[in-house]
């Protein structure tokens, strides 16, 4: 029997030896390095083809754009590689490049680089970012000046020029490696291995499934004063792992923690919580064919005033807020206050709607939390609150990838969805107008509410910022009063860092500017 035990002991010995090997290795320390954990959305490091959050975070560190945003303030673009002026009609924007700025290879940034970079995106019709250049004509005025023009007023253009997809590339280098301004562009492979920009970092290595490594751009002569000369951005899809890595000092920044996880973080972790730019809302279809009894403004009003918004907000975590309208709080025209529950108004509206106790199906994606807000408990609470108001709801969850088809095709009578901006400007929320993309998903045609259509047009065509802000406010207010959407929650964005790191500023497009992270 002793012999038998020897074999068992040998097996345990093997396991123990392997475990000891685990003890032997410790992560090397590097004080000028920083590790950022995030769930990857990364397809390319070619900024002109990039259109996903992690890609934007990487592009923002490697490249610069004509304009920028200061910290978390996305209401007004500030100077980036250039300053700008516009004509009174807001159709011609003249950009003047800052003197002396250079790319990472030391060559000067000129108007030719701007013209090439913007026209490259405009020419690559298969690029997901191509639509950003729709209707914009780029003209070189002189070596340091470029003119961007549109046929109709476009006060969103300055905000568009902050988008990392429209980053300025070293044109000579990119052209040498296959870059063109039409569909024949073949520079992506080159840009997936080397960066050709003027940002504070250069690309060291990239693996689209696991990690990106950035190192300091020694020729950078912009305004950022970077503290971390090496940045590792890792793909950690599980938020619980991000939390453990951060607490165990294996990483210094965790980007995707939910409100609950932030609340249970150990001491000594900095937390930056702020409302994101996503709006979670109820859609109430106004097409009789699709919605049946839901297809009238009174029913939408009944739902709007029947809900207890603070109770719904309990399901979201740190940084979240009640949605005051379809436009989230950080954007121009966002309303100050949201709807408050009023059961009398709800009851009167319900009676006027002709609703007679029918069961209504509420559809929602059940595998796609937005900002840590899981839609299943949210739907259950909506169901419970509407039941108190006399509306019978039947829940119909489905995976995101199957649910989205019926949402996009406008065949859902009653559903929970979300909307985030493609670029940092309130014009992103005009699709909620009657007859526009999101409006039509709710069966809301232009003919059904011409007032809202006119308000959206006024916001779109405003030629000065004061007029524009008022127009967007009016648009948002009108939607709150008569639209087929019931905005519920703006979930929080929670970025947690090691205690010695400061400078985190949330941005709805590039999440955070890595170059602004500072060691205290």
């Amino acid at each position: 029997m002793r012999t038998k035990f020897r074999y068992v002991a040998a097996a345990f010995g093997l396991t123990a030896s392997l475990a000891l090997a685990g003890c032997a290795a410790a992560a090397p320390e590097a004080s000028d390095s920083i590790v950022i954990d995030t769930a990857f959305t990364l397809e390319t490091s070619d900024p002109g083809r990039n259109y996903v959050p992690t890609g934007y975070m990487v592009s923002k560190a490697l490249y610069e754009t004509l304009l920028d945003f200061a910290g978390s303030d996305e209401s007004t673009p500030v100077d980036g590689l250039a300053s700008y002026e516009s004509n009174d009609d807001a159709t011609v924007f003249t950009f003047t490049l800052e003197d002396g700025r250079v790319f990472s290879d030391g060559s000067a940034i000129t108007a030719d680089d701007v013209v090439f970079s913007l026209n490259r995106v405009a020419g690559m019709t298969e690029s997901k970012a191509n639509f950003l250049m729709n209707g914009i004509t780029v003209t070189k005025i002189d070596d340091m000046t470029v003119e961007l023009s549109t046929e109709t007023p476009s006060l969103k253009l300055p905000a568009l020029m902050t988008n990392p997809s429209l980053a300025i590339l070293n044109s000579a280098l990119v052209i040498e490696n296959g870059g063109t301004t039409d569909d024949s562009d073949a520079a992506e492979a080159f840009l997936n291995e080397t960066s050709a920009g003027s940002g504070p970092y250069i690309l060291d290595s990239i693996n689209f499934e696991s990690q990106v490594v950035l190192t300091e751009n020694e020729n950078y002569n912009g305004e950022e004063d970077i503290d971390f000369t090496r940045v590792v951005i890792r793909n950690v899809s599980e938020a619980a792992t991000q939390k453990i890595n951060l607490e165990g000092d294996d990483s210094q920044v965790a980007v995707d923690l939910s409100g609950d996880q932030v609340a249970s973080l150990s001491d000594g972790i900095n937390i930056f919580s702020t409302p994101s730019a996503q709006t979670i809302f109820l859609l109430i279809n106004q097409s009789e064919e699709v919605g049946g009894v839901t297809a009238n403004a009174d029913f939408a009003n009944a739902v709007r005033y029947a809900l207890d918004y603070p109770a719904l907000l309990e399901l979201a975590g740190a940084g979240s807020e009640q949605a005051t309208g379809v436009i989230p709080p950080s954007f121009l025209g966002a309303l100050e206050n949201g709807v408050e529950q009023d059961l009398d108004v709800a009851a009167a509206s319900l009676e006027a709607s002709g609703y007679d106790g029918e069961s209504i199906t509420l559809e929602y994606p059940n595998d796609y939390p937005v900002g840590g807000v899981n839609f299943t408990p949210l739907a259950e609470r909506v169901q419970s609150q509407l039941a108190d108001a006399g509306i019978t709801i039947e829940l119909a969850p489905a995976p995101f990838t199957t649910q989205i088809d019926s949402y996009v095709n406008g065949t859902e009578a009653f559903s929970i969805w979300f909307w985030g901006p493609d670029y940092a400007d309130s014009a992103n929320f005009l699709p909620f107008s009657a007859g526009q993309k999101v409006g039509l998903r709710a069966g809301w045609t232009a003919e059904q509410d011409t007032d809202v259509v006119n308000l959206a047009a006024a916001a779109e065509n405003a030629t000065n910022f004061d007029e524009r802000e008022t127009a967007f406010s009016n648009f948002a207010e009108a939607l709150q009063q008569s639209g087929p959407f019931v905005p519920l929650i703006v979930p929080g964005s929670n970025i947690a860092t090691a205690s010695y790191i400061d400078g985190v500023a949330y941005n709805s497009t590039w999440t955070m500017d890595i170059a602004e992270l500072q060691a205290k």
Partner: protein, 353 residues
């Protein structure tokens, strides 16, 4: 027999073993073809719009972008043509382009598969060693306290949810005890070794990078530990049952009567007799480890096949899904083929069947 060399007779075209091999190979090729049909059909029948999922809201509302996207990927062709193109591409090593990563699926899989094989291989070795040892111990000491303990241990291994175990062990060994490294295949300060096999441990050894080797090995420990627990539980119970059956066999009793004991009896008689069913379960367990590590890979941020499959499926990346389906199909067929071969080697009756 005459003077004909034995080896020539054994491997001639008429030899039962060669015939058996060819039959198994033919079946595997047919099954592989079936796998491509099924994965292609399933990937193209799932509800949802992969183009909208890949392009996003803004780009998907731009008709020029959608048109260019569809044309570039040949998605405007009828399904049979797309399938024919897919098969034709496979013969040239082209598994299509991932809609999610925009990289060739073959390149993505070339990175993901070795990462998973590295943990799965180590996990099956550990599981086999521990499972056979514990299972044999439990069988030999049937009804004793050690048998009871082993059975409880194996039951725990089978019952604990892998995802939960991964999180708890990661928290305990990394965060609390600080004796295991953080997530991923390597510490962030280290660069991956030059790729030869795709196994970081092997490649770092080949490159003489000892620090990288130690670090890679350390990062393997927790995922291997978690993955092994279930397989150890499975193998332990299976080995115990198989050994118990064999222990009562006449030839084992005869061996014991001749005075054999200890390792000679265990390896020469008992385990050899129990090897066929154990081989089957090891093959299945290895296949499961290779194709079912999604949750463990998610917790340990392990960029392997499981993570790739999950990300591809949730983003409607159909070429990615088909690539994973094909790889998993090939893995199972290869394992079955290998197990069948070993059956044939271990038991001559099988190859004559």
């Amino acid at each position: 027999m005459g003077n004909t060399p034995r080896a020539t007779r054994r491997y001639s075209a008429r030899s039962p073993l060669v015939g058996y091999l060819l039959r198994r190979l033919g079946t595997s090729v047919l099954l592989l073809f079936g796998v491509t049909v099924v994965t292609f059909a399933l990937a193209n029948l799932v509800p949802g719009d992969p183009i909208a999922a890949a392009l996003g809201e803004g780009a998907a509302s731009n008709p020029a972008t959608v048109e260019a996207y569809i044309k570039e990927r040949g998605l405007d062709q009828p399904l049979p043509v797309q399938y024919a193109n897919y098969i034709s591409g496979l013969f040239h090593g082209d598994m299509g382009t991932s809609l999610r990563t925009t990289q060739p699926v073959a390149d993505d899989l070339a990175q993901a598969v070795p990462a998973t094989v590295e943990i799965a291989l180590l996990a099956i070795i550990v599981s086999l060693g521990v499972g056979v040892a514990l299972g044999s111990l439990a069988a030999y000491r049937r009804g004793k306290i050690s048998d009871q303990l082993v059975r409880v241990f194996s039951l725990i291994g089978l019952s604990i949810p892998t995802f939960w175990m991964a999180l708890v062990s990661f928290n305990f060994f990394f965060l609390q005890l600080r004796i295991a490294p953080g997530s991923g295949r390597l510490s962030p300060a280290l660069a991956p070794p030059p790729t030869v096999t795709g196994f970081y441990t092997v490649d770092s050894l080949l490159a003489g990078q000892w620090v990288t080797f130690t670090d890679a090995l350390a990062h393997l420990m927790l995922p291997v530990f978690v993955l092994s627990l279930f397989t150890i539980g499975l193998l332990t119970r299976f080995v115990r049952t198989s050994v118990l059956e064999v222990l009562d066999a006449d030839y084992v009793r005869a061996g014991r009567a001749k005075g054999l004991s200890g390792p000679r009896l265990l390896f020469g008689y008992v385990l050899r007799g129990a090897s066929l069913p154990i081989l089957t379960i090891v093959g299945l367990a290895f296949g499961t480890l290779l194709s079912g590590t999604v949750l463990v890979e998610a917790v340990f941020a392990w960029p392997g096949l499981g993570s790739y499959a999950y990300n591809s499926a949730t983003s409607l990346d159909l070429p990615g899904v088909m690539g994973v389906g094909l790889v998993v199909g090939v893995v199972y067929l290869s394992i079955n083929f290998a197990v069948d071969l070993l059956y044939g080697v271990l038991d001559p009756r099988v190859r004559l069947a």
